[in-house]
C-alpha cells in the first residue's frame, strides 16, 4: 500500500530537526520490515507572525510502500515515536495518507498550497482529514503541527514542491558528468535547467560541492544552471542559494 507520511513541529532550537525524526521513522519502517521507504522532502510553509514555528516552518514528508497488514501498527509506532522523541515545547503532528484510496487528492494538494500563503487552523486541517479519511494526529503541546503535517502531505502529493533531504552521493570523483549518467542514479529522475528545459543525455554537467534534487514534475529533479563563460561544461549543478526558493 502506497502511503505518504508527513510530520511537522517536532523540534526546538537545540533539538534534532524534524528531518532527522522523519529519517528515523523511515528507518524504523525498513528495520521492522513493514515496507520500503523513499526520499524525504522538505516543504516550506508560510512564515507569518500568527503562526508558531521554531525557526523556519517547514514540514517533512516521505513516501512508503507498506505491507497493508502493517499499516495501523506503523501509524501507532510512528505516533509513539513522536511522543517520545519530539522536543520539549514542540507541538508535533503526524499525517498518513493512503494515496491510492485518497478520495479527493486535489483538495489535499490545495490545502498544502494554501499553507504556503495563508494562516490555517487546526480545525481546517482536521475538517479536511475527516472528509478525506486520512490519519491526522497530534502528539504533544498545542498539536498545532497537524496543520503542517497535513500540508506537507499535500505538497508532496502535488509532485511540485520542496527539496529532497540530504545530498546525493555520486560514484567516482569526476567533476563533470553526463545527463545520462546522472539519470541512471537511483535518486535522480530528471535533469533540467532552472528555466525548465530538459537537457539531452549527452550534455556534460559540472558538479558542485553539494548535489541536491528538488521535487518537480512528480520526480526527483536535478536543477542545473548556466556556467560562466569559458568553463569546460556549459551547465553546472545549482548551489544552496539558487535552490533556496524550492
Amino acid at each position: 500500500m502506497k502511503v505518504l507520511i508527513s510530520i511537522d513541529d517536532t523540534d526546538n532550537l537545540d533539538s534534532p530537526g524534524t528531518g532527522a525524526l522523519a529519517a528515523e521513522i523511515a528507518r524504523m519502517i525498513r528495520v521492522r520490515n513493514w515496507g520500503q521507504t523513499f526520499c524525504i522532502t522538505r516543504h516550506q510553509l508560510y512564515i507569518h507572525p500568527a503562526i508558531p514555528y521554531t525557526s523556519h516552518n517547514s514540514a517533512m514528508c516521505f513516501a512508503a510502500d507498506i505491507d497493508p497488514a502493517c499499516t495501523e501498527t506503523m501509524i501507532a509506532a510512528s505516533a509513539e515515536f513522536l511522543v517520545e522523541q519530539s522536543a520539549v515545547g514542540s507541538d508535533p503532528g503526524l499525517c498518513v495518507v493512503r494515496t491510492e484510496t485518497c478520495t479527493d487528492p486535489g483538495a489535499l494538494v490545495g490545502f498544502g498550497q494554501a499553507a504556503k500563503s495563508q494562516v490555517l487552523s487546526k480545525e481546517d486541517a482536521y475538517c479536511l482529514a475527516r472528509r478525506l479519511r486520512l490519519h491526522l494526529s497530534e502528539h504533544g503541546g498545542t498539536g498545532q503541527g497537524v496543520i503542517g503535517a497535513l500540508a506537507g502531505a499535500g505538497l508532496r502529493l502535488s509532485g511540485n514542491d520542496g527539496r529532497m533531504r540530504g545530498r546525493l552521493t555520486l560514484s567516482g570523483d569526476a567533476s563533470q558528468i553526463t545527463v545520462k549518467a546522472l539519470r541512471e542514479h537511483r535518486d535522480i529522475d530528471a535533469v533540467q535547467t532552472l528555466a525548465g528545459e530538459l537537457l539531452p543525455d549527452s550534455t556534460l554537467i559540472n558538479l558542485g560541492d553539494k548535489v541536491k534534487t528538488v521535487l518537480l514534475g512528480g520526480g526527483s529533479t536535478l536543477l542545473v544552471t548556466e556556467e560562466v563563460a569559458g568553463a569546460v561544461a556549459r551547465w553546472r549543478t545549482c548551489s544552496n542559494q539558487e535552490l533556496k526558493g524550492y
Binding site: 532550537l13 537545540d14 534534532p16 530537526g17 528531518g19 532527522a20 522538505r42 512564515i47 507569518h48 507572525p49 521554531t54 525557526s55 523556519h56 516552518n57 517547514s58 527539496r163 533531504r165 540530504g166 545530498r167 553539494k210 548551489s239 544552496n240 542559494q241 533556496k244
Partner: protein
C-alpha cells in the same frame, strides 16, 4: 536583538557577521540557504521572518 535590517538577500554581509560571531552554530544542512557555510542564514539561531530573520543567540 531585533530583526536583521538587511533582509534575506544580503549573503556577503551575513557571512561577515557570522564570521565574527562567537555563537554561530551550523543548522542542519537541509536548512542552509547560503553557499558560505558560516552565514547567519545557515545558523541554527536564526529564526526566519516574512522579510528577514531574527537572531535568537542566547536562547540556545
Amino acid at each position: 536583538m531585533g530583526e536583521y535590517a538587511g533582509g534575506k538577500e544580503e549573503f556577503a554581509a551575513v557571512a561577515l557577521r557570522a564570521a565574527a560571531c562567537r555563537d554561530f552554530i551550523e543548522d542542519d544542512a537541509d536548512e542552509w540557504v547560503a553557499d558560505e557555510a558560516q552565514s547567519c542564514y545557515n545558523c541554527r539561531a536564526r529564526r526566519w521572518t516574512a522579510t528577514s530573520f531574527v537572531c535568537m543567540r542566547g536562547q540556545l
